[in-house]
């Protein structure tokens, strides 16, 4: 029997106020994360991936409404009091963001930032906290730990600062790290270094991660499983290697095909025509249907649910079984 997951997100919907009413930006999302597992949440801007992460930690505007269950070791975070939720944020689930400069106080040194949680939540004295901070910086590959601890954010590169933010997030020894586009603002070489740190944390500490990115290739380098989101809904979920070799949803296949590659120059890139809907103007039925080459009348009349096809393979396309052979990369390449 498989052990119960660390986190289970069950039919979660989050609505936010836009104009004079509430609209869903996360719409019936379900997934699980096991201990030490890295799950990727991939989608284009506006797909709801960041809102899903923020929903988990309730980092939403006050008027936002969430339905469904978010179970951390069986305890529902949605119904937790604010005070109890603060405890979860301080100790069990940490979050890091795309732009460390927007999340680290410019007038605090790295040392102030990393030791804050240790002093406030861990009750460590200044000197002990500082020694622990040095270890944490070493864990994220910072060689000159003492100098970096004394440095202000303005004196550090973006990559170094992201390492500091990760060290700060690890201070409380969380079980789950939510990383929202943590490398998007970084150079590709630094991105590879940060991904290597995450991979080490997963292996050495069994740290579970929800890794949010717009970059399918990046998700594929690190994640065990990937969920592809569109218009607030999960379109597909698969183990990473299967997602790339045999996508189940036309949207995933389209994304894989649209990316230019290093190997060849394409005469034309295949495109997904049109653009994503806004939350206030959702299409009927399957949200991708206006942009889908495989659309049928039934795709428009009802919203297709995410269905389990086999073990860890889920698709929200009605026609997956019928068209899956045509979605494979080699078949798509011939479609032009």
């Amino acid at each position: 029997m498989t052990p119960p997951p660390l986190l289970e997100v069950r039919s979660v919907t989050t609505e936010v106020e836009i104009g004079d009413r509430h609209w869903p930006v996360v719409d019936g999302v379900s997934f699980t994360i096991g201990r030490g597992e890295v799950v990727g949440l991939v989608g284009e801007s506006g797909s709801g991936k960041s809102m899903t992460a923020r929903t988990i930690l309730r980092l939403l505007r006050a008027e936002a409404r969430t339905r469904g269950m978010i179970l951390l070791d069986g305890v529902d975070l949605v119904s937790l009091t604010r005070r109890a939720l603060r405890g979860v944020r301080a100790r069990r689930i940490a979050m890091i963001f795309q732009d460390p400069r927007a999340h680290i106080d410019p007038l605090w040194t790295s040392g102030d930032h990393v030791t804050e949680g240790l002093r406030v939540n861990g009750g460590l004295s200044g000197a002990v906290a500082r020694a622990r901070a040095r270890e944490l910086l070493a864990d994220v590959g910072i060689l000159e730990a003492e100098r970096v601890l004394g440095a202000y954010p303005g004196e550090l590169s973006g990559g170094m600062l992201q390492r500091v933010m990760i060290a700060g997030a690890l201070a409380a020894e969380p079980e789950l790290l939510i990383a929202d586009e943590p490398t998007t603002a970084l150079d590709v070489t630094v991105q590879a270094e940060i991904v290597a740190i995450f991979d080490g944390l997963r292996r050495e500490r069994e740290l579970a991660m929800l890794f949010i990115t717009h970059d399918l290739e990046l998700a594929s380098s690190l994640c065990d499983r990937v969920l592809v989101m569109y218009a607030g809904r999960v379109m597909e979920e698969q183990p990473t290697s299967a997602l790339f070799s045999a996508p189940l949803h036309p949207y995933t296949a389209g994304l894989l095909e649209a990316r230019p590659t290093l190997e060849t120059k394409h005469v034309r890139l295949s495109v997904i025509p049109g653009r994503p809907p806004t939350p206030t103007d959702p299409p009927d039925g399957c949200p991708i249907h206006p942009r889908c080459a495989f659309v049928e009348p039934a795709c428009i009349s009802a919203v297709p649910p995410l269905r389990q096809l086999a073990g860890a393979a889920f698709s929200a396309c009605r026609r997956t079984e019928e068209i899956r052979d045509r979605l494979r990369p080699e078949a798509m390449a011939g479609r032009g």
Partner: protein
């Protein structure tokens, strides 16, 4: 046979900034661009790649006159561009060199529709009647795939992809020879990025454009550029045809860049982060796995073929058989 004179020739271009950062004790000089030279032929497409701080955007800004070089020459159609252009010269340059930025939201006038923008560019550069301008505006909107409604919309009413189309149309309105694309597709979602990359391919042939593409994304460079200049900390460290650079990179930094491109299931070994970088010798040597004693002196660009050169002692034939170019497995 002699090559035709290049459309654009950049020789020994330099830019040194004096810096004093807020909330920081750092001050001094930053050599953003260090003696960079390249040529672009009419109809060519040069990609300039490198990480932040490599100087690639500073080169773009100097080309279009937004930044003044502190050294070197830029020659466009056999005529030297002034480092401190006056008004007339700026106008003349704008007719020949246009730039499209990463974020059209901050580079477009928020109070002007695409139509009005295109009209204004034509009024500045050409003596055309209102009717002629309107006809040309229609052509430009159609060329970039914007409809009548979108043409009349303000930037904030457009999607990211549509805004970038509007920015490209505005650049084309001046009928430039060279379009400088400064991370012009970097902020776009994959599905939209593919549309704009296809548009750029169409426009290049339809308008006989020459591209200078600044990008950190090697796959985008592969799609658009014919030749590549790899920059590291202000230096050109490798230059050559795009297929050669991507399939047989010579400089260890280029190899690192290529290795770092995410691939399914591949995580690179962890590397420690260090604070400061030497400013003498080879600028990459502290991060370079192959650094040896010779690297305290910076090499020139060393040609391995007529069109392919790298600034690395490892490619110097004089270095002897003991040192060979390391193989990079990921690119086979």
């Amino acid at each position: 046979m002699a090559e035709p004179a290049p459309l654009l020739e950049v020789e020994g271009l330099e830019k040194t900034f004096r810096v004093r950062r807020a909330f920081s004790r750092l001050r001094g000089e930053v050599r953003a661009v260090r003696h960079v030279s390249f040529r672009v032929q009419q109809g060519g497409a040069l990609g300039i790649v490198g990480e932040s701080g490599s100087g690639k955007t500073t080169i773009a800004r100097m080309l279009v006159g937004l930044e003044q070089p502190t050294g070197g020459r830029m020659v466009l159609e056999e005529e030297e561009l002034s480092a401190r252009p006056g008004r007339a010269e700026r106008l003349k340059r704008a007719r020949r060199l246009q730039i499209v930025f990463q974020d059209p939201y901050t580079s477009l006038d928020p109070h002007q529709s695409a139509r009005r923008m295109l009209d204004e560019v034509q009024r500045v550069h050409f003596s055309r009647s209102r009717g002629e301008r309107a006809a040309r505006t229609d052509q430009l909107l159609e060329a970039v795939g914007l409809g009548r409604t979108e043409g009349g919309s303000l930037p904030r009413e457009l999607s990211g992809g549509q805004r970038q189309r509007a920015a490209i149309a505005r650049a084309l309105a001046a009928e430039p020879k060279i379009l400088v694309l400064d991370e012009a597709v970097s902020a776009l979602d994959v599905s939209i990025q593919a549309q704009i990359l296809n548009l750029l391919a169409d426009l290049r042939s339809d308008f006989r454009l020459t591209y200078i593409l600044i990008s950190h994304d090697l796959a985008v460079v592969r799609q658009v550029a014919d030749d590549v200049l790899v920059m590291y900390r202000g230096r050109a460290v490798e230059v050559g045809p795009v297929e050669t650079i991507l399939s047989a990179p010579l400089h260890p930094y280029t190899q690192r860049l290529l290795d770092s491109v995410p691939r399914p299931g591949i995580v690179l070994p962890r590397r420690p982060a260090t604070l400061e970088a030497e400013d003498t010798g080879c600028l990459f040597r502290q991060r370079c796995p192959y650094a040896f004693d010779r690297c305290v002196v910076e090499p020139d660009l060393i040609h391995v073929e007529r069109v392919h050169a790298a600034r690395c002692w490892l490619v110097d034939r004089g270095a002897g058989a003991a040192v060979s170019v390391p193989e990079v497995e990921a690119h086979k």
